[in-house]
Symmetry: C2
Subunit: 255 residues, 2 copies
């Protein structure tokens, strides 16, 4: 999957298609799919694949395997496919994240999806601007699009479940106890958390606040439902850095 020099600039916000994700609509029969649009462009132009070449593929929420290009016309290509491999095991972490700015949200959704998180709660917090909740990027199809890009990057097929929780208190009182009753529960709290465990116990729930952090009231509510404040080093990380950095020990733990 060598990417030819000179074409890279055309990948916009760039995830790499390390796996071609197949949707139900793509199937001609059990062994053939027809792909147009973005995937066609990516495969024929960026990856410069030709008839007879093979590609790593996976069906959304299904198996992974190989596809061989049978034919290419001007706007679509046909693959003969074999789906016989399980996707990688989910990362055993439920991520609870204060809704990021829309501009960051797309990248964070891709990041989280590429790292194998399967359950994401986007929650409100005092420092989440109310306007973020009306972003068009929160439409289910927009969220799904970013999650799929993350799956293609990470080589996975299992779509994460994303839950929107625009009210902090009802979330912590009504939903969170059920979500976190049998997990290790950690909340990132750079100001005075204890040291982040090197090999955290799983399954886990990990809560990450907005830029500026959760306010003391919110930390107290989370402590009441058994979340332990933790910090990763002395420095204060931005959300886009904190998310992969805090998920990393869980990935390492199951390697």
């Amino acid at each position: 999957m060598l990417i030819s020099s000179g074409n890279r600039e055309s990948i916009d916000d760039a995830t790499v298609m390390n796996l071609v994700l197949l949707e139900d609509d793509d199937f001609i029969d059990d062994n053939h799919v027809r792909l147009g649009g973005r995937r066609f462009d990516h495969i024929t132009t960026l990856l410069a694949k030709e008839t007879g070449d093979s590609l790593r593929i996976g069906r959304v929420n299904g198996l992974m395997g190989q596809g061989v290009i049978e034919s290419i016309d001007s706007a679509a290509l046909t693959l003969a496919i074999q789906l016989d491999q399980s996707p990688p095991p989910p990362l055993p972490v439920t991520l609870i994240l204060a809704l990021p700015r829309p501009k960051m949200l797309r990248r964070i959704l891709r990041c989280v999806s590429s790292m194998g998180v399967k359950s994401l709660y986007l929650i409100n917090s005092y420092r989440v601007d109310k306007s973020y909740w009306s972003s068009p990027l929160l439409q289910p199809e927009k969220i799904r699009e970013q999650l799929c890009l993350g799956l293609e990057q990470g080589r996975d097929t299992l779509l994460p479940q994303v839950h929107l929780c625009p009210r902090f208190r009802p979330f912590t009182e009504d939903d969170l106890p059920g979500i976190s009753s049998s997990t290790t529960n950690l909340v990132a709290h750079p100001e005075d958390g204890s040291v982040f465990p090197c090999q955290p116990l799983v399954p886990a729930c990990l809560a990450i606040g907005p830029e500026g952090g959760f306010i003391p009231y919110e930390i107290d509510r989370l402590k009441e439902v058994n979340f332990i404040p933790v910090r990763l080093g002395e420095r204060i990380l931005g959300v886009e850095t904190a998310v992969p950095a805090l998920l990393s020990p869980f990935v390492a733990g199951i390697s």
Copy 2:
């Protein structure tokens, strides 16, 4: 440092100014600085600070401490400062990174700087597009700007050293042996690396390839100078996710 709702959207690519970084030019005398421009706007508008309020400050490559706003006029403010705290210890990792696409480079420089890396080599690789090396973002003052944003985010003062190495082979043959002679040397290699150590020995050198990874020739050259291929989990991470995720175990190790 509560950030008022409604102003957040105006922070562009957003790092948070958790520390106001002082330049030599800002000093009126040993105990006073005058700040205009971006820092003035950030402090007066975004942080909504007023005369008498205090701020966490730090001098580039110097000490950290507190500043109290003495006066504010239309375009600048004066701080009475006290610099009496050491910055946090450097992350004991030299990062060797295949030059990312310019669009990503700014975010990665901020990320690396906010995590405490003090030595960064941006190197060439087969999959680095040649055009990236002529990006205006590689001008020293542009690089410095992003590094400073990272220091402000992470609350640190020590500017990272960034080295541009546009030729892979001379870098690995002439420079790398000296850089990595007394360190733990790891190269990220998702395809067939061994498991990333949970508590890696430091000081360390960590090499991260471009999107698509180092080519086998490059991995072989790195192995020749004692770099061990490692992977973090089964999934393939994009560079923007891989950098914080792979630096994270080092942060955890020194917590």
